[in-house]
C-alpha cells in the first residue's frame, strides 16, 4: 500500500510552500485585489515561469520538466494555499491539458511557449447562466472561424490563447484561438473574485484550429474537465487547509468572556467539522491524483469525487473561517473574505457542484450496469 505522495514530491511541495510564503504574501494578493487595472502579479508570474512550474507536466522533448501529474497536484495545493493571483490554473491546467488532447504538431507548437511564459492560456466555455452544452451554445465554428461571445473567461483579458467550446454543426467542438489575432475583442468583467481577472471575449470570424475531431467537443470537454477538476481540487484543498489554520490560530489568540474563544465547544466542534471535511477532501484528492497520473478508467468518478469533496471543504472552511473571526472576519483588511471569494471561483469555473453530482451519479450508474 503506497497511497501517498513520494518523498521527492513532498520535498517539491515544501520548497514551493517556502517560495510562495515569501513571494506571494497577502500584500501581493491585495495588490491585485485593490487595483482594478492590475490583472495579475507580473513579478510573481515571472518567477513561477522561471522556476519551470508551467512545464512540470509537459514532456522534456517539448521543453517541459517532464515530471508528471502528481507533481502538478502538489504545486496546485500550494498555489491554492496562498491564493496566487496569477493565471496558473488557466495556463497549466486548462490550456495545457487541452493541448494534450490535440495532435503532436499542436503540442510542439504550443508547449514550448507555455513553458517559457510566452503563452498565457484560458478556458472559454460559459456564455450565460447555466452550464454550457451543445444545445445551448451560440458561439459557432464555421469554415475554420468562430463567432460569438464568451463570458466570463477567467484570465481572459491577459491570456494570449484560449481553448474554446463551440457549437459545430449539430454538435460541439473544442478549438484553439490566438487571442492576439484578428476578430477578437475583450472587455474586463467584475466578479466575486477580483484577485483573478475575468473578461468577456467576443469573437467575430476569429481563426480557430480544431482540437481532435470536429463534433467531438462534448467528449473532449468531458476529458479535459475530468483532468482539470483534479488539479483544481488540489487548489481548493490548499485553500481549505489554510482557512482551517487561520480559524484555529484566531480561535487560540482571540479572548472573549475571559478565555480563548477556541475553548468553547461551539467553536471547537465547528473547527472539527472543517477538519473532517478537509480530510474527506484530501483522501478523495489523492485518489483523483492517482487516477489522473495513471490514466485509470476510474478517472470520471475519481475526478468528480475530488471536485465535489474539495468544493464542499473549501466552501465550508472559508465561510466558517469568517464566522470564527466574528466582526473582524467581515472587514476588508482581514484575509478571510479572499478565501471565501476564491472558494466560489474554484467551485464554479469548471462546472459547479450540481453539475458534477449528476456526472458522478451517471458514472456510478454506468459502472453499476457494466
Amino acid at each position: 500500500m503506497n497511497f501517498d505522495f513520494s518523498e521527492d514530491q513532498k520535498f517539491l511541495g515544501n520548497e514551493a510552500r517556502k517560495f510562495l510564503e515569501s513571494s506571494c504574501t497577502s500584500a501581493v494578493v491585495r495588490g491585485v485585489l485593490n487595483d482594478d487595472d492590475v490583472s495579475h502579479d507580473a513579478d510573481l508570474w515571472k518567477k513561477i515561469v522561471e522556476m519551470g512550474w508551467l512545464g512540470a507536466a509537459i514532456p522534456e522533448e517539448n521543453g517541459g520538466l517532464g515530471l508528471g501529474m502528481l507533481e502538478m497536484c502538489v504545486l496546485a495545493e500550494e498555489m491554492g494555499r496562498v491564493l496566487a493571483p496569477v493565471p496558473f490554473a488557466s495556463t497549466a491546467y486548462f490550456f495545457t491539458e487541452a493541448v494534450k488532447l490535440g495532435d503532436k504538431s499542436q503540442q510542439a507548437e504550443y508547449f514550448p511557449g507555455i513553458v517559457n511564459g510566452d503563452i498565457i492560456g484560458c478556458y472559454a466555455a460559459s456564455e450565460g447562466p447555466g452550464a454550457p452544452n451543445a444545445a445551448n451554445l451560440t458561439t459557432e465554428l464555421k469554415g475554420g472561424k468562430i463567432s460569438g461571445t464568451k463570458i466570463p473567461v477567467t484570465d481572459g483579458d491577459i491570456a494570449t490563447h484560449a481553448v474554446v467550446l463551440v457549437k459545430d454543426g449539430s454538435g460541439s467542438s473544442l478549438v484553439l484561438v490566438d487571442l492576439q489575432g484578428e476578430g477578437v475583442t475583450r472587455n474586463t468583467v467584475k466578479t466575486l473574485d477580483p484577485t483573478r481577472s475575468h473578461a468577456e471575449i467576443t469573437f467575430k470570424d476569429a481563426p480557430a484550429t480544431l482540437l481532435g475531431k470536429s463534433g467531438d467537443g462534448a467528449r473532449l470537454n468531458e476529458d479535459l474537465l475530468n483532468r482539470v477538476a483534479v488539479l483544481l481540487a488540489f487548489e481548493q484543498l490548499g485553500g481549505a487547509s489554510r482557512a482551517l489554520e487561520m480559524a484555529k490560530d484566531y480561535a487560540l489568540e482571540r479572548y472573549a468572556f475571559g478565555k480563548p474563544i477556541g475553548g468553547n465547544q461551539a467553536i471547537k466542534h465547528k473547527l472539527a467539522d472543517i477538519y473532517v471535511k478537509n480530510e474527506i477532501a484530501r483522501s478523495n484528492c489523492f485518489y483523483g491524483a492517482w487516477a489522473l497520473s495513471t490514466g485509470a478508467a476510474e478517472l470520471p468518478e475519481a475526478a468528480a469525487a475530488s471536485r465535489l469533496a474539495a468544493s464542499e471543504a473549501f466552501w465550508f472552511a472559508s465561510k466558517e473561517n469568517i464566522q470564527t473571526h466574528g466582526g473582524m472576519g467581515f472587514t476588508w483588511e482581514v484575509d478571510c473574505h479572499l478565501y471565501y471569494r476564491r472558494a466560489k471561483l474554484l467551485a464554479v469555473q469548471a462546472g459547479a457542484p450540481p453539475v458534477w453530482k449528476e456526472k458522478l451519479v451517471r458514472a456510478l450508474e454506468t459502472k453499476n450496469a457494466a
Binding site: 503506497n2 497511497f3 487560540l252 477556541g262 465547544q265 473547527l271 472539527a272 480530510e279 478523495n284 456510478l364
Partner: protein
C-alpha cells in the same frame, strides 16, 4: 502512488488467505450469525478462535511468547481484510483480546499473565470491559461503583451499563471508586473480576432498537482479592487510559447499508431519476469513498512502519451519521409503506428500517459525536480543553445527576 502490496505484504496476504479459506466460508447471502442459534454461533466462534490461536494468527502484532504472531500492524490490517472477506464468527473475543488482555499484560502480575492470557487467546475464556455506568458515560471518570477494603479483599457494590457480552463472559476488567474523598480521577482502581461468581448479575438492556445485545451488570457485595488488582490503588484512571488506547485499529467495513445499497434499492423502486435523490447519492458516495480512502492513507503509514496521522479519527462521525441519513432517505422513498419492519414484506429484508433504529446508538457508542469532536479539536487541532469544575474538588463534593 499505488495500492499494491509490497512483496512481503503479498506473501503474508496469501498465507492469511490460504489459512482462512481452509476454515471459513466466503460471505454468502445470509451470514451465519443469522442462520445459527446463539449457542451454535458461540461454538463456531470458539472453534475458529482456537484454530487461529493454535496456528499463531490470533493476535498478529503480539509477541510469540504471548501467543501472537510477532508481526507488524500492517500485517494485522491485512489479516483483518482477508478475514473480512469470509463469514467469520468473530465477535465474542474482540473486546477481551483488543482491550482487556492488553491491560492485563501491561499491569498484571506474572501469575495473572500465566493464568489468563493464553486461555483468552485460545478462545477458552471470554472477557468484558466494565467501565460505563448509568451516570458516567462520556465522563466515565465520574463512576460511582464503590470498592471498600476488607482485609486482603475488596467488597464491590454498584452498577455498570452497556457492557457487551457480560452474560457470556468469564472475566472482566472492572473500574471502581476506591476513594470518594479525593478528586475524581485519583480515587479509581482497576480489578480483574470473575463474572461467574456470586453477587454478579448481568441483565440484558432492552434497547431503543428493540434488541437486547448489551447488558447492565449489578455488583452486590462481590468480593475481589487484592491480588487481582491491576495497577496501584488510586491509579485506575491511568490503567483505563491504556485499555482505551488499545482499541483496535478501525478497519471494519460499513456498519450497515451504504450508498450502493440505497442506489440498488432506488433502481428497483423506480426513484433513481429523482434529482434530489441523485444529489444526495453523490454526497453519500463522496463521504463514504473519502473515509475508505482515508483508511488507505492510514495503512500506507503502517506499511512504511510509520505512526499513522490523526486522520482516522474522522471515521465514526462519518459512518454513523451517514447510516442514519441513508436509512431515513430509504424509508421516506418508500412513503407510508416504509414504516413496515417485517422482513418478508420489505425490500432488502427491512435492513433500512432495522439500521434506522440502530443508527442512534452508533452515534453514541464508543464516543459520542460530541466527544469525538472534542478529541479532534483538542488533540489534532490543539484547541484548549473545557474549563473544568471537577478536576480538583473531592469527588463526594461534586454535583451529580
Amino acid at each position: 502512488m499505488d495500492f499494491n502490496d509490497t512483496k512481503e505484504e503479498a506473501a503474508f496476504r496469501k498465507e492469511a488467505h490460504d489459512f482462512i479459506a481452509k476454515h471459513l466460508q466466503p460471505k454468502g447471502n445470509k451470514p451465519i450469525r443469522q442462520t445459527m442459534s446463539g449457542d451454535d454461533y458461540m461454538k463456531a466462534a470458539k472453534a475458529w478462535q482456537k484454530a487461529k490461536a493454535t496456528a499463531g494468527y490470533a493476535k498478529i502484532t503480539w509477541p510469540k511468547e504471548m501467543g501472537g504472531y510477532g508481526g507488524t500492524a500492517m500485517q494485522q490490517v491485512i489479516w483483518n481484510q482477508e478475514e473480512g472477506k469470509f463469514d467469520s464468527p468473530g465477535g465474542p473475543f474482540t473486546i477481551g483480546l483488543g482491550m482487556c488482555i492488553p491491560t492485563v499484560i501491561a499491569f498484571g502480575s506474572d501469575e495473572h499473565k500465566k493464568r489468563y492470557v493464553q486461555k483468552a487467546v485460545l478462545g477458552e475464556e471470554i472477557w468484558c470491559q466494565l467501565f460505563s455506568e448509568p451516570s458516567a458515560g462520556s465522563d466515565v471518570a465520574g463512576l460511582k461503583t464503590k470498592a471498600v477494603k476488607d482485609g486482603d479483599e475488596w467488597v464491590i457494590n454498584g452498577q455498570k451499563v452497556w457492557t457487551s457480552g457480560a452474560h457470556y463472559s468469564d472475566y472482566g476488567i472492572l473500574l471502581v471508586r476506591t476513594d470518594p474523598k479525593v478528586p475524581k480521577h485519583k480515587g479509581l482502581t482497576m480489578f480483574i473480576v470473575d463474572m461467574k461468581q456470586e453477587g454478579v448479575e448481568a441483565r440484558p438492556i432492552h434497547q431503543a432498537s428493540g434488541g437486547r445485545e448489551f447488558n447492565e451488570v449489578y455488583f452486590t457485595d462481590v468480593r475481589i482479592k487484592d491480588s487481582d488488582r491491576l495497577g496501584d490503588v488510586g491509579q485506575g484512571w491511568k490503567v483505563a487510559i491504556v485499555t482505551l488506547m488499545n482499541e483496535r485499529l478501525a478497519v471494519g467495513g460499513s456498519p450497515g447499508p451504504d450508498w450502493s445499497e440505497i442506489m440498488n434499492y432506488a433502481k428497483d423502486a423506480g426513484t433513481m431519476e429523482d434529482a434530489a435523490f441523485r444529489a444526495k447519492l453523490a454526497d453519500w458516495y463522496v463521504a463514504a469513498q473519502g473515509y475508505s480512502l482515508t483508511k488507505l492513507r492510514t495503512q500506507t503509514a503502517l506499511s512504511k512502519g510509520q505512526t499513522p496521522g490523526p486522520e482516522n479519527s474522522i471515521g465514526k462521525i462519518i459512518t454513523a451519521n451517514q447510516l442514519q441519513d441513508i436509512c431515513n432517505s430509504a424509508i421516506e422513498m418508500q412513503d407510508h409503506y416504509g414504516l413496515i419492519t417485517e422482513q418478508d414484506r420489505m425490500p432488502a429484508d427491512a435492513l433500512f428500517q432495522q439500521s434506522f433504529m440502530w443508527a442512534p446508538g452508533l452515534r453514541i457508542a464508543g464516543g459520542t459525536d460530541e466527544i469525538l469532536k472534542n478529541i479532534i479539536s483538542e488533540r489534532v487541532l490543539g484547541l484548549p480543553g473545557d474549563i473544568r469544575v471537577d478536576k480538583t474538588a473531592p469527588f463526594d463534593e461534586l454535583k451529580s445527576g
